[in-house]
């Protein structure tokens, strides 16, 4: 007999198989996770909404299908969570913003449709930095999420709720979104796996837009195999997203144990400067050694325009981060113009003398500080007189950054590098200075600017007991190779499936 403690320890694939073979019912699985949420959520605050009754209903429907001898799908009965910036027909879609506190979407994101069609049970919507703008989930309009490894630390962001929920065993897997590192960095901070797929691989239909040329939905999971399964399920051309690419979805799960025997792993030398924390540097070099021992070849490559420097005052800087924030904020200022307090969203209760005052006051009341900053900066960099100096300049640098990757991939199949300059930091540590917070994304933004897939996997547990992640980056549409490389390290290192103390031995 499988107890509730055991159920939440299974990966999504293991649980799916247990349900398919009748060892565990979908209802037992949903109930085990709802119990875990009841026990740990008060300390973590990973969820904006938990859909307890509906999850049990969905699970019973799966059990009924199975009893009737019908197919229950490749995720039949597996309880998952969805970041609260993806539209769902059930519940609210808030983006953790007061401006959308009561918003009920009239349509559903394609990625969520695909999960449900595959038999997944959705447990609820997870917390994020408001509109996915942030790197710690502290910018949520509904209070921060805590890191399950240390409640005094942030879970990373913006998909901090999804990463914390997966790490704390409050769901078997989750969807996040990644505009500049928002899947990979929280996955690293929480000791789980996160994949940002190639731009266009997964439909963005129903994902509330932040930076439309950068945004991509992807999975956060316990191990690499689960990431492969979820990515395969949510991928594919969608007529409702013209930027989704018309390409067949490869068999990612099947290719997992078929990493090329002569895999070439590139170490971008600019990412191993003294800007990097020594412990993280050591962990990633250990990972490179693990790859070498498993038969990979290690080569040094160069990404000059993604170079990371530390000045005399200890401040980090990179062209890629400057380029990224200009592009992301410009796109954000345009995307967030839709919150007009007329069609949906918060409207001020005060009397306004005209429509402009109505817009301005409603937006002032509804948006948080960081969102206001980004809209204003984006508006400024797009305004007459500054467009060429900032926005157009950034678009040119963006091409230089991408050209560097193209050259690097002539020499290697996959890049190995850090995810973030530090492990999870303390709550409140970076909230005073917005620029300091931006630098948490310094190793991840180039991937979004270039449209590449990036995988974050646990590399080690640091001396202070916090997880250290490592990042694998591949050329566009190389997810099968990237995941196989992640799996290769996972098998050889034994660092997969780290369990935070709060979720042990229940």
């Amino acid at each position: 007999m499988t107890g509730a403690g055991n159920i939440t320890e299974l990966t999504a694939i293991e649980l799916r198989d247990a349900i398919a073979s009748g060892g565990v019912s979908a209802e037992q699985a949903a109930t085990a996770y709802l119990d875990a949420i009841a026990a740990r959520e008060p300390a973590v605050h990973a969820f904006n909404e938990v859909w307890a009754d509906r999850a049990v209903e969905q699970a019973r429907a799966i059990d009924a299908r199975r009893a009737a001898g019908k197919d229950i799908g490749p995720l039949g009965g597996v309880p998952l969570a969805v970041k609260d910036n993806m539209c769902t027909l059930y519940g609210r879609t808030t983006c953790s913003s007061k401006i959308l506190a009561d918003f009920r979407a009239p349509y559903q994101a394609t990625a969520v449709d695909k999960l449900e069609a595959a038999g997944a049970v959705i447990l609820g919507k997870t917390n994020l930095d408001e509109f996915a703008m942030g790197s710690s989930t502290e910018n949520s309009g509904f209070g921060p999420t805590r890191n399950p490894w240390d409640a005094g630390c942030v879970p990373g962001g913006s998909s901090g709720g999804s990463a914390a929920a997966v790490a704390a065993r409050m769901c078997a897997g989750a969807l996040g979104s990644d505009t500049g590192g928002s899947i990979r960095q929280p996955a690293a901070f929480c000791g789980v796996v996160g994949l940002k797929p190639t731009y266009g691989r997964v439909s963005r239909y129903g994902l509330v837009a932040y930076g439309s040329s950068l945004d991509q939905i992807g999975p956060i999971t316990r191990d690499v195999a689960d990431a492969a399964l979820l990515t395969e399920i949510i991928s594919g051309r969608d007529p409702r997203d013209s930027t989704s690419v018309p390409r067949d979805v490869p068999d990612m799960l099947g290719a997992l144990d078929a990493a090329p025997g002569n895999l070439r792993i590139g170490l971008p030398k600019e990412f191993y400067s003294d800007a990097l924390d020594p412990e993280i540097n050591r962990s990633i070099r250990d990972a490179a050694e693990t790859f070498r021992a498993a038969g990979a070849r290690i080569v040094e490559v160069s990404l000059p325009h993604s170079r990371i420097d530390r000045d005399a005052a200890g401040k980090l800087s990179s062209y890629a981060a400057a380029c990224y924030y200009i592009v992301a904020m410009a796109e954000a200022s345009s995307n967030l113009a839709r919150y007009d307090s007329v069609h949906y969203g918060h409207r001020t209760a005060e009397d306004c003398r005209d429509i402009v005052e109505l817009y301005s006051r409603s937006r002032a009341e509804g948006f948080g500080e960081e969102v206001k900053r980004r809209i204003m900066l984006g508006t400024y960099t797009l305004s007459a007189g500054y467009y060429d100096a900032y926005y157009n300049k950034a678009l040119k640098v963006r091409r230089l950054i991408k050209n560097d990757f193209d050259a690097a991939f002539e020499l290697c199949d996959v890049l190995l590098c850090p995810v973030a300059p530090t492990t999870a930091f303390k709550l409140g540590e970076k909230t005073d200075d917005p620029l300091t917070m931006y630098l948490a994304d310094i190793y991840t933004v180039s991937v979004n600017l270039s449209g590449l897939p990036g995988l974050s996997v646990p590399a080690a547990l640091g001396a202070a007991g916090m997880p250290i992640g490592m990042q694998l980056i591949g050329p566009v549409f190389s997810e099968p190779t990237l995941l196989a490389a992640g799996r290769m390290h996972e098998k050889a290192s034994g660092t997969s499936r780290l369990v935070p103390p709060m979720a042990r031995g229940s």
Binding site: D102, R104, P106, Y107, T198, Y199, G200, S213, T243, V245, H305, S317, Y319, A322, C323, Y325, I326, S333, A337, S341, V342, H343, Y344, R347, C352, D354, I355, E357, L358, Y359, S360, R361, R363, A364, F367, R373, I375, M376, L377, T379, Y380, T381, S383, Y390, K393, A394, K396, V397, R398, R399, L400, K402, P434, L435, Y438, L449, S450, G451, L452, V476
Partner: protein, 100 residues
């Protein structure tokens, strides 16, 4: 490319952004925006002469769809989240008239 952001400029950007600010926010944003813009200015170190701007990483062109009618939101669904409505209409304060 260090640029100072004076209060008048902060207020101008806020107006373009349709975000009302109080005096305290104007002062704080002036400092924050200036330091972030200074950071952005780092890009001026790079020679980008002759480089083609890249607005999208995966460039698809001419994405066409069949010109066939499909389902769209019902009027009721489209209006369901309206903060204020009158029948089948969104309600706003008077747009034309005595303002400005």
């Amino acid at each position: 490319m260090s640029r100072t952001i004076d209060e008048a400029l902060v207020r101008h950007i806020a107006k373009l952004s349709r975000i009302e600010l109080d005096d305290e926010q104007v002062a704080a944003l002036g400092r924050q925006l200036a330091s972030i813009l200074e950071y952005f200015g780092k890009l001026s170190e790079l020679d980008t002469e002759g480089v083609e701007p890249m607005p999208h990483a995966v460039e698809l062109r001419n994405v066409l769809a069949e010109d066939s009618p499909g389902e769209s939101l019902t009027t009721e669904a489209a209006l369901a989240n309206a903060p204020k409505r009158d029948g089948d209409f969104f309600m706003v304060p008077k747009v034309i008239g005595d303002s400005q």
